[in-house]
Amino acid sequence: MGFSGLLREIGEYTWEIPRDPARGMRVPGVIFGDRGLLEKSDTDNALQQVVNVACLPGIVKASLAMPDIHWGYGFPIGGVAATAVEEGVVSPGGVGYDISCGVRLIKTSLSRGDVRKRLERLLDMLEAGIPKGLGSSGRISLERREIEALLTGGARELLRLGIGWEEDLDRMEEGGCYPGADPGKVSERAMKRGRNQLGTLGSGNHFIEIQVVDRAGGAAERLGLYEGQVVVMVHSGSRGLGHQVCADYIEVMGAALSGYGYEPPDRQLVCAPIRSPEGRDYLAAMACAANFAMCNREAMTHWVREAFERAFGSGTRKLGMELLYDVSHNLAKIEEHHVGEKKTPLLVHRKGATRSFPGNRPEVADIFEETGQPVIIPGDMGSCSFVLVGTEESLQKSFGSTCHGAGRAMSRKAAKKRIRGDRLKERLEEEGILVRAGHLPGLAEEAPEAYKDVEEIVKICEGAGLSRRIARTRPIAVLKG
């Protein structure tokens, strides 16, 4: 019997794998989803990973999985695990290689009609202005002291280089600066990988999309979102710097593991006590990578604004290009949560999961006090994406976490076998979605049919109380890495 056979329905859209000490589980597994989603092909492998995560020392309450759960490395993608700061562990696998990979949404005051005739030109400008990845040089080459300042100070430091807006900072998690960063804990190799990559998109599932809001309700108006409005979504992460930090600390923790007397069920799930030298060093390096990722998205935002300015011959402030919010969906953060009656500091690992806090949390800027923190959920390039807001209920159920996207339904290999990039591009353009892609076969890997239905995922999140939908957007132009 596979793991799906062990699932017990314990609430609306909520399933449990009961704690089984024989498997080494310290807590149960809890999966948010419906029967249809859980019956998808690779769920069993992902559920095995939920069980593996439940074995981590110091894990509290449950090993959680969001509705977009799929098979990852070590942790499932869509996995959330909170470990007690005093006696628990930190696992780089619970954050992932692309540390602080995330999404942001930039608003405009333009309507679909305003951009129709200039869309092609706008997309050309975005393509020319935003370097993608390997083989394209970043627009900024950083001196050693500059990169160290960014890694320590985050997006505020970027303002000193003339990039970004002061008011963007309140619209980023941690105000654009993840605390505790120490560049001394980032390897020379990671520094060199990141040196020329600030403001670069990367490849894989990273993108910039011009979208139109096609549904808006609830707190949307208060957040400045309305139907027919053009918005821009940016999805990228910490590039080579973050990838190297993860790889470095998987080795460091792998070497130190036996000293802590823990044998992980999966080598990709190495970990170290949060209070150990290895744990502290990883968190200091991870914070640097998170700051780099936020700076990376902020730099691209700057160039998106520049492209709009040139295409419309109008200032970006006049074009209303304010940042709605920037979220990370691969990160570990120390947060206080209720465990039983007691408020306890926990390290919440979110791997392919988004923080979904209500407005009364100290981490959320005052401007979102009444609405809750915006949560941005990218869909696939042929359908839609969503803006949600955080809820009080998510604090009780998922340490204030929700989904991060549609989640893959088909492997990259299977997608490439079934779908041709050039035909997909034609098909999307017939549907009115302009596409620019660095590599057409790579585009096939990101085809709409390779993903689960994002609408279904966010509906389950809402049904389970993890977040609340306020707007839906549809892409009209896509720039892929």
Binding site: G96, L134, G204, G240, A247, G254, D266
Partner: protein, 112 residues
């Protein structure tokens, strides 16, 4: 050697790379699995930070869990080398390394 070539073939067409430069590559691991991961990371680092792409690799020797070898390649030229994708890292996920009939076979999954 073949793992490295396989990895490069995900990034670009190794046939499009002229073998102009020989670069020494050294890697060390805690065991054979981590040696393989470390060897591939060394190459990936030279591609991403060093701007060199490779078409051929060779191993000079493996002593314990330390490998030394080389890669032949040239500077990355985006006009000439059609970049297929970026690799974030080689992973330990389902990593399999077997020795039999005088040769090693490996399965390694890359995060892309």
């Amino acid at each position: 050697m073949n793992c490295a070539r396989g990895m490069m073939s995900l990034v670009l067409d190794p046939e499009s790379v002229r073998l102009l430069e020989r670069i020494e590559i050294k890697a060390a691991g805690r065991d054979m699995e981590s040696l393989l991961v470390s060897w591939l990371e060394e190459i990936l680092y030279r591609v991403e930070a060093g701007g060199t792409v490779f078409g051929e690799f060779g191993i000079e020797g493996i002593e314990g869990t330390v490998a030394s070898g080389w890669g032949w390649g040239e500077p990355l030229d985006p006009r000439k080398h059609d970049i297929r994708l970026e690799i974030k890292a080689p992973t330990y996920h389902m990593l399999e390394l077997k020795e039999g009939e005088g040769r090693w076979t490996a399965r390694i999954i890359f995060d892309v």
